[in-house]
């Protein structure tokens, strides 16, 4: 008898079966990623080889990718977009959610519904007006043009308001009794207490900004300022340049994987909390 048996646990066989299914599923998830890195490490003439192990190893694809594009610059730009967009959204969401949760004001429900409503409007519907606006502002083909329209995210407001609604109201009252203004209560009481939730949301927003392809492609047009666009340069009408394409894609995924390894718990948390993906 082991102590970690679960009451009502069925036979060993069924448990084994469950593990096999999970194992196969995770293999199916991991395999494309493995294949991506495997291909990027093959010698140029072996790119179409189907051998499971890439042998002999070669960094030729990486050399070519770096020669053709400023990969580091692209990674840096993408990083800037991801970080600024995430921070901006966090700030906007925090202020809006705090107002909705801590105060009572007229038309509160209506305003909140409108916030939520913007979440339901598909990206395709706002894409063109945003594009025209950016063009008038002269922000096309700039990083600012990519970032600014993403700054207000209904998702962030929604998630943070839920957190703030379950935030103990007596703490806000206590801060008021202790002499803090609303503004200072937000920064000295609410934000520190909500740090895990804010970190989780920030990571979620940064990763989705990092992975965004379509919107940067529209705003930045033909330039290859961000890494997801840089991938295009290896796709051509006469076929794709798989080696450097995979090398660049591998580098593009790397920061997300590293982030995931370092902050695993927070990220899983973020996706679970958001109920998305």
């Amino acid at each position: 008898m082991t102590t970690d048996e679960v009451v009502g646990e069925s036979s060993r066989g069924r448990r084994l079966g469950g593990h096999v299914v999970l194992g196969v599923l995770s293999l199916a998830c991991v395999f494309p990623i493995y294949w991506l890195y495997a291909t990027s490490l093959r010698a140029p003439q072996d790119v179409y080889s189907l051998s499971v192990l890439p042998w002999p190893l070669s960094t030729a694809s990486y050399t070519e990718a770096f020669a053709k594009n400023d990969v580091l610059g692209m990674l840096f730009n993408t990083g800037v977009i991801a970080v600024l967009s995430a921070l901006g959204q966090l700030l906007v969401a925090l202020l809006a959610a705090y107002a909705f949760a801590a105060w009572r004001f007229p038309l509160q429900r209506l305003l909140y519904l409108m916030f939520v409503g913007t979440w339901l409007v598909p990206f395709q519907a706002t894409m063109l007006p945003n594009y025209v606006l950016l063009s008038r502002l002269g922000l096309l083909e700039t990083l600012a043009g990519v970032i600014v329209p993403t700054l207000c995210s209904a998702l962030g407001v929604l998630l943070l308001r839920e957190h703030l609604n379950s935030f103990p109201k007596e703490l806000l009252d206590a801060a008021r009794m202790d002499g803090r203004s609303s503004w200072s209560t937000l920064w000295t009481v609410v934000v520190p207490a909500l740090r895990p939730a804010l970190a989780a949301l920030g990571i979620l927003l940064a990763i989705s900004a990092w992975n965004e392809y379509f919107w940067p492609a529209m705003v930045l047009q033909r330039s290859n300022a961000v890494v997801q666009l840089g991938l295009r340069s290896f796709m051509g009408t006469e076929g794709n340049d798989w080696g450097p394409l995979m090398a660049t894609a591998g580098l593009a995924c790397l920061p997300v994987f590293v982030l995931y390894l370092v902050l695993q718990r927070h990220i899983v948390n973020a996706f679970v909390r958001s109920g998305l993906k």
Binding site: D173, A174, G179
Partner: protein, 363 residues
């Protein structure tokens, strides 16, 4: 140290009147307990005094300043919350020092003051801990410390002991009472626990459905309850209240009902009048069956250790030193001395007092 005055304080939430026209004058150094059942408006009243909730009507003074429209930080009062409301991300020392940091006091002064308060409350060894690393009683003391550190004119406490277990509660009760004796700070203390009210209060304000039912010292409220509500709210088990008729028999007044006849000890001659008669369980004595009193059959006997409580079929209970000497099923007669009988108006439930002047004196 401050005096708090309330005048006609009222708070409505939509159609509900949570606090209804309350006037109180809390003297400097007083320990006023707001007592009442759940939902009677105690917290609402306290939050209005704190400035966390604007009153619908009425006015408030702290000493000679009207504070009705002042925000909480400009009222010289500190509050202890039921949930303690400690800042979870700050250490005990920083929690206690928080109000002083808000007021931009010099660092050295804050440190000294926090150390002094921590020493008073026996928290010195816990100053570096986070609230989640503390027991309930320790958290409660930190919350108290955060209020103490400000040297406020008055303390407001909303059921500060309700999250503690019985033993800790008794200890902390004594501690708070001791602290009040030492500091002589005006305190308004909310509770629904009658033991806390009786032991700690200099005066009790008994609330019922938002209205002030009775205001008085613990003994006044216990010995001369102003209404049936007050009579049955305090005391354990509650005061026995029976519908009776007062009539004159042979020139003295007696209260009569089915199986009940008790002399009021007043010589007078008045027309019959329905009243509600109250008598505390500890004021009833068992007499041999057959005499004058309340006739009843014992249904259950409760052992409280030093005392016993006998419950009877008519809803009356008796309390006395153990053993009472009765067993369930036994028929008993209960009597009480006239000075221990309370009379309440049958309709309004208010206390009736005998006014000799109104008695037609026989010549």
């Amino acid at each position: 140290m401050s005096r708090i005055q309330l005048q006609g304080l009222t708070r409505r939430f939509g159609a509900v009147t949570a606090v209804d026209d309350i006037g109180l004058d809390v003297a400097d150094g007083e320990f006023l307990v707001l007592l009442g059942p759940s939902g009677c408006g105690k917290s609402t009243l306290l939050r209005m005094i704190a400035g966390l909730l604007p009153p619908s009507e009425g006015r408030l003074w702290l000493d000679d300043t009207e504070i009705t429209h002042l925000p909480p930080q400009r009222r010289d009062v500190a509050m202890v919350f039921q949930s303690y409301a400690l800042y979870p991300h700050l250490s005990v020392a920083r929690n206690i020092g928080f109000p002083l940091r808000t007021r931009k006091r010099p660092r050295a002064e804050i440190k000294a003051k926090v150390a002094e308060v921590a020493a008073t409350l026996g928290l010195t060894d816990l100053l570096d801990r986070k609230p989640r690393e503390l027991s309930g009683g320790q958290r409660q003391r930190v919350a108290l410390g955060r209020a103490l550190v400000r040297d406020p004119g008055a303390f407001l406490m909303d059921e500060p002991l309700s999250n503690l277990d019985a033993k800790l509660r008794a200890g902390t009760r004594a501690e708070i009472a001791g602290l009040h004796r030492r500091l002589r700070a005006t305190t308004v203390y909310v509770t629904h626990d009658q033991v806390e009210a009786m032991t700690m209060a200099t005066r009790i304000a008994l609330l019922n459905e938002g209205r002030l039912e009775q205001l008085g010292t613990p003994s006044e409220v216990y010995d001369a309850p102003a209404s049936v509500f007050a009579a049955t709210f305090l005391g354990s088990p509650a005061m026995n209240v029976v519908d009776t008729t007062v009539r004159a028999v042979d020139g003295t007044l007696v209260a009569e009902a089915e199986g009940l006849r008790l002399s009021l000890g007043i010589d007078a001659d008045i027309p019959d009048r329905p009243v509600r008669l109250g008598v505390r369980p500890e004021h009833l004595t068992l007499t041999s069956a057959g005499g004058q009193g309340i006739r009843a059959v014992v249904t259950a006997v409760e052992n409280l250790g030093s005392e016993e409580v006998a419950h009877c079929d008519t809803g009356v209970s008796v309390r006395g030193p153990r053993p009472l000497g009765v067993v369930p099923g036994e028929a008993v007669t209960l009597s009480a001395r006239p000075e221990h009988l309370h009379l309440f108006d049958h309709d309004s439930g208010r206390r009736l007092a005998w006014q000799a002047a109104s008695v037609p004196q026989p010549v």
